[in-house]
Symmetry: C2
């Protein structure tokens, strides 16, 4: 049988080997399973299942000249109702995080956790003293004066949207530098923190373009702040870093007039289906409230690695949340994808007997 | 007439406005000239005029999943006869320069100048004490013990290839960290410094993929060193930064079996034509020896901005070299392009009368 060889490994070792901590490495998963990459049902990464209507021919793009990002920056600025001088593009949100952490003067950071693992990595890399606040407990703890505050809204890995008005007041009172990571906000109908840019000068807002625009292979993220802050960041960045292919893909995606609304309504419908599926599963203790395209699930009677192993014959990848702060092997994250794929998950879950 | 409005500006101001210091900004040039971008004859940037035979359909690429760079890294490693663990990819050579300057411990740098302007910028940004050595004078000056040495081979803006064996011995004797920038080496038949990686552990080699592979819109550069150095650099870099489009473009380009040889022979032939053209021009005092796809020209009886202005009605952009160390407004750099375009330059030069 196709998956025979993998049972020679112990569960822990095998899962560690084929499912990397960040999720989404379908190449390694497919290789280990002996199947085609296209056969993998990837519920481990949070890429939008809806794809924008791209009406350009990439084969005819002239990529010889040095790129110019004016049109792309204007399109993004227009999308988020800011000026083009208020953003700097990066090769994905992670590149932006690294650059910001590097450039700031403070070396104290408050992470509202659990959150995207690269924040801890950047904190350690640049010598930040980390203060963790558990988002699943009352979050109105005091933050350190002048520290960098990281708040992901909606959060990962659970997808909860927080009204951060009260928190903002507390952070501002402490003169904190604030990064609100809104990489998944476009999946929701909720408002951005951008209006605060008018009244507070130590605020940064991060937008990942890879998740919402359904293209993790397109490396674009945008860091938004006031013009002065962005000028300071630009001075430390190379003139050219974004691919012309990626730039044209994103410009075309931004021109799709129905994309945002369609994504929001389909995500909502499919999420409801997935919640129902999971709540009927005897191994699910709790599904956390989510406004995004993924769900955090607390398991019972099974651990995350064991569940992952049971899903391998079905070629389904899910995310073990054990490496998130305040979570352990009782937690998995499952992406909201097409109903047909979610039905395959439903079928696979029904087959599990321990 | 189409270019009428531009003569309202003074020459200096106008040239500064439309021809940025780095060259290659055809968008701004076309806009100021009121012509289409496709009409501009760009002899200011050093992009290969030969394009690789790309046999993939970019419209059918699945860019939704997170990228995996294994195949690309293997193809590049294979091209340069190194192991895949001996390279880190960046979004162009400039990104690699910034990362390397940031990560090194020394804060003294020896720049063999004139050279690519981003080296000075990176040196200043990261607080390096700069020691310049003029390549147009005897270059066997002593370098500072333990400093970072930057040597571009073949050089910019002149294109001379140096046999660096003696220099390497001197640098190694001083325990320098060495960066040999071989961004234009593939245009020549000359050997790389990669064999030194086996015997000296503080050596880095930089390869820009944008110039040779004729795609400045494809943002890929490779920093090559021993596996230990590369591991240390990787630890400070995001997991994903290269576009999947770019990755596939470069993999396809690397598969073209005739591309390197064709480029070398056509570059050599067209360069000979351009040299002949320039040597017949009364405004040319000297054409510097070059092994690359560009020529450094010393002018007489005309300055670089004036020459640039005379070429505007012909929609021809060339590079003013005044912002290179040890050069001034008597120097321009002209790219080796198609013979038809070089003939247009020849025609334009013949029309100049001052």
């Amino acid at each position: 049988m196709a998956f025979g060889h993998i049972y020679n490994f112990s569960i822990g070792r095998f899962i560690m080997d084929i499912i990397p901590q960040h999720g989404g490495d379908i190449y390694r998963f497919a290789k280990a399973c002996g199947c085609e990459v296209s056969e993998v049902i990837d519920l481990s990464s949070n890429i939008n299942v809806i794809q924008p209507n791209i009406t350009i021919d990439f084969n005819t793009l002239d990529i010889a000249p040095y790129p110019n990002y004016e049109q792309l920056e204007e399109a993004i600025a227009n999308r988020y109702a800011i000026e083009p001088t208020m953003l700097e593009l990066f090769n994905g949100a992670t590149s932006a995080i690294y650059s910001l952490f590097r450039s700031l003067k403070t070396r104290a950071v408050t992470l509202y956790a659990p959150l995207y693992g690269e924040y801890s990595k950047a904190s350690k890399l640049y010598g930040y003293n980390i203060h963790l606040i558990n988002r699943f407990e009352p979050i109105d703890q005091e933050v350190k004066e002048g520290s960098l505050v990281i708040f992901v809204n909606p959060s990962t890995p659970d997808g909860q949207y927080h009204n951060i008005d009260r928190l903002m007041q507390a952070w501002i009172k402490k003169s904190c530098t604030i990064l609100v990571d809104e990489s998944f906000l476009d999946f929701t109908p909720y408002p951005s923190a951008t209006p605060y840019l008018k009244t507070y000068d130590k605020l940064y807002i991060l937008k990942s373009m890879t998740k919402f625009y359904s293209a993790a292979g397109m490396r674009i993220g945008a860091l938004i702040s006031n013009t002065t802050n962005i000028q300071q960041i630009k001075a430390q960045e190379p003139l050219w870093k974004i691919s012309q292919f990626d730039s044209h893909y994103l410009q075309a995606a931004l021109r799709d007039p129905l994309f945002a609304k369609t994504t929001q309504s389909i995500t909502q419908a499919n999420r409801a289906f997935l919640i129902q599926t999971l709540e009927q599963c005897p191994y699910v203790a709790k599904v956390y409230p989510s406004t995004a395209n993924y769900l955090l699930v607390k398991l019972q009677g099974i651990t995350a690695p064991t569940l992952q192993q049971h899903l391998i014959p079905h070629k389904i990848m899910i995310r073990n949340c054990a490496n998130f702060d305040f979570l352990d092997e009782q937690f998995v994250r499952i992406a909201v994808k097409e109903i047909t794929l979610l039905k395959k998950l439903e079928h696979a879950l029904c087959e599990i007997s321990i």
